[in-house]
Amino acid sequence: MKTLEDLKRIREQAQKAMQVRESDHSAKICVAMGTCGIASGARETMAAILDELEKRGITDVAVTQSGCKGLCEQEPTVDVCKSDQPTVTYGYVTPEKARQIIAQHIVNVNIAGEWVVATDKK
């Protein structure tokens, strides 16, 4: 059985890992979690994103959620924002697509063009 005591050990290991890591986030992934997004599977998309980042050992990407942004018919939508690049919004992001977006956009810095539904110049 797990107890809160386990967290001390986890903390010590994480602190060691954090010492050798860049602290700033290099990218932000935002999953839209309005009623429309959730009903279309946004929670499973989010779970796939977290799992894929963990599997690849990527720790400098912040994962957040937002409300509905008016693209209800294209949910689940996911925004990817690499620092100093415009935000890219992907549509119909199934868990499988989410994993590929991480491989292409986050790892290889190559926007997965065919799934983009909007871009935003910042």
Binding site: L4, L7, R11, M33, G34, C36, I38, R43, A47
Partner: protein, 182 residues
């Protein structure tokens, strides 16, 4: 919504939009009363009595990007269908509590579903919000409090993958000890 845990994610999103810094989620099953209760309380900005009176109307929403708001109306319709209902208590500046009840054994009641995944989603995406999750089956209760976790991990962020993995496993174990609610 296929699962009540997706409704919880949806209602909690309202709390986040209302600027809450504390969100308390309860899932409570009472076999004696044949009752399943789901409650989401927050300390967000709250709603006026006039807005509460209209909030079950799908054509009422605060958002500007679309003209319909289906979160509460869908939860309300499901609860009504299952011999229960939705109660809303709110005051401007004092937060909001949404409580949905269902007959536990009602054939139309959606399953609670992946509640752990709902909580993980909320915790990862909103690391600055204090979440509590209270899970009761009759006399047995399990409570998860993210402030307690943060006190243990000190400067390690709660979004750290090893911490998240621990929360997932801990919740899954403790919920099965208290009693899974299907």
């Amino acid at each position: 919504m296929r699962e009540l845990s997706l409704h919880i994610l949806d209602i909690a999103q309202n709390s986040i939009s209302a600027g809450a810094s504390q969100i308390h989620i309860v899932v409570k099953a009472s076999t004696r009363d044949n009752l399943l209760t789901i409650r989401v309380s927050d300390n967000g900005k709250g709603m006026s009595p006039e807005f509460v009176a209209r909030v079950r109307d799908p054509f009422v929403t605060t958002r500007t990007v679309r003209k319909v708001g289906l979160g509460i109306p869908m939860l309300s319709a499901t609860a009504d269908l299952c011999g229960g209902g939705v109660k809303i208590e709110s005051a401007v500046g004092n937060g909001t509590t949404i409580e949905a009840t269902f007959e536990l054994n009602n054939l139309d009641r959606p399953p609670v579903g992946e509640i752990v995944q709902t909580m993980i989603t909320l915790i990862v995406a909103n690391p600055d919000i204090a979440f509590t999750y209270e899970h009761s089956v009759d006399e047995k209760t399990f409570i998860l409090n993210t402030d307690e976790i943060k006190a243990q991990i000190e400067d390690v962020p709660i979004t750290e993958p090893s911490v998240i993995r621990w929360i997932r496993e801990y919740m899954t174990e403790q919920i099965s000890v208290a009693g899974n609610i299907t």
